[in-house]
Amino acid sequence: MPGCIVVRFLASFPIRQSQRHSSLVASTEITIRNVTFKNPVLTASGTFGYGLECESFVDVAELGAVVTKSISRKPRDGNPPQRICETTGGMLNSIGLANVGVDVFLSSKLPLLRERNATVVVNIAASSVEEYCYVLERCEEHEGIAGYEINVSCPNVKDGGLNFGTHCPSVAQITRELRGRTSKMLAMKLTPNVTSIAEFARACEGEGADAVSCVNTFVGMAVDIHTRRPKIATITGGYSGPAIKPMALAKVYEVRKAVNIPIIGIGGIMNAADAIEFLVVGATLVQVGTALFVDPAAGTAIARGIETYLSEHGMASVRELIGSLDTSMQPSLIAAGWG
């Protein structure tokens, strides 16, 4: 892929601090295709609105990128209440892709993001291949969009993508059609709710995707035992938060072994340590999602935390961290804070 960082396993790469130049400020820049992200931390779609709601708390220009809420051809009202509930170490959501539609996004949200010097990745959701193409083509008419993330994996609406996302030929077709329509970065956001996510990642790579985002939410459910009713209106919803991190990491690990294109790691990242785990396993970028509901500035704090880690470990660049998982030795628990 031209201009694309090809990330391979940098396994068996022990870091010895004494050997490294710890006084240097580490580079956190990452380039994928023709987009340079100033740091590897992006906001996950649907957890940061249109990037404008949190101005009191965070400067969006300091993020690697803002990934927008899923944008569809027409405005969507979203699902009926109750849309969210908290579970142990996580939450369920069933928002239903509520969004303003591509026209309003382009006319009233994108210009404000540009004014704020945000790197903007537009997340697109659709109920047909034609609709995906339509929304992308509308976006292509505008300046200020760095790339696209394609939501083929929303678990919460009947026509919202999961029927595509669990059907590999459909994911391949959508990737192919969109690839033919843009020279910008194209990332496909995959669902973990399949038997082999690697198969889907390979299909995306084969059709020219620049990256795969791993993963969207896991299908989950919670019941109020007093009323014996589901806790959210759609009965099942998307499960996110720190509880899913080990599962998401395993999916990234699986995909890392299957493809050469960059992975955008997503799933329960709450702090810099969580983000670093994803990078070590092989993600080139990460997205912070549910953590933003608790702390809207979590993304920039995590970016700073990664930078500090790199300096403390004598690494000149975040690229040294990516895929540096060392599986040659005994598993390590002590340094991870066991006990």
Partner: protein, 262 residues
Amino acid sequence: MFQETVSILHSAQVAENVYTLEFVSERIAHATLPGQFLNLKPDDSFDPLLRRAYSVHRIREDRIEVIFNVVGKGSRILAAKEPGDPLDVMGPLGVPFHYEGEYGTAILVSGGVGIAPMPILGDRLLALGKSVVNIHGARTAGMIANDGRLTNPIFATDDGSLGFHGNVVGALDAWLHDHGASNVRLFACGPNRMLGALGEYCNARGLPLEVSLECQMACGIGICQGCPVEMATGNRKYTLVCTHGPNYDINDIVLDSIPSVH
């Protein structure tokens, strides 16, 4: 809106399962208007994960007070806070009550922990020269914080153990019978069933009623889209309680579209 870590000044149980927390934040205290809420992080763990949204109950100088029932893990942690404990606070959030305007008497109707926004609202209304009466109901006297925090209160209890024997709608009817219903405006907060009954009563008599809704939120600032209530008017199907509410004209929303938290 601000996010800051404050220090707990005072915590207390003020009635059966009713707790208060008081802390100091000059910025938040000065920025908060009646009907707005704060999002409190119970602790720095991931369980509970999300913040808890509470109306601002009272503001005295720079001191801010919230009031709540213990209903789960998060509120249990908050109720156990002691003076000096840190607390991560975000706010003020939401749109205040729409209390400006030409009317003489404000009737503040609350049920249970729906008492939350009434002291700060009453204080503001008094400062604006309005007459204020609070009608506050609970199941029993023990569940009422009868310690002077409400302006000109009339209490109603289901068991008759304090004040009017019956619900707040009955107590309101009695008050209006004695004092008349001209030039009044009503503000209410409480269980959805109470708000619904109050809405029927007010609509039948042409009385303006604004209600403060309670609903579960993930973020409190409009990014998660998790707290919609169906609209009865306008072009949009839903409004977000966190950023467009929590205070609405009763006739602008479909109350039954959201589950009652109480």
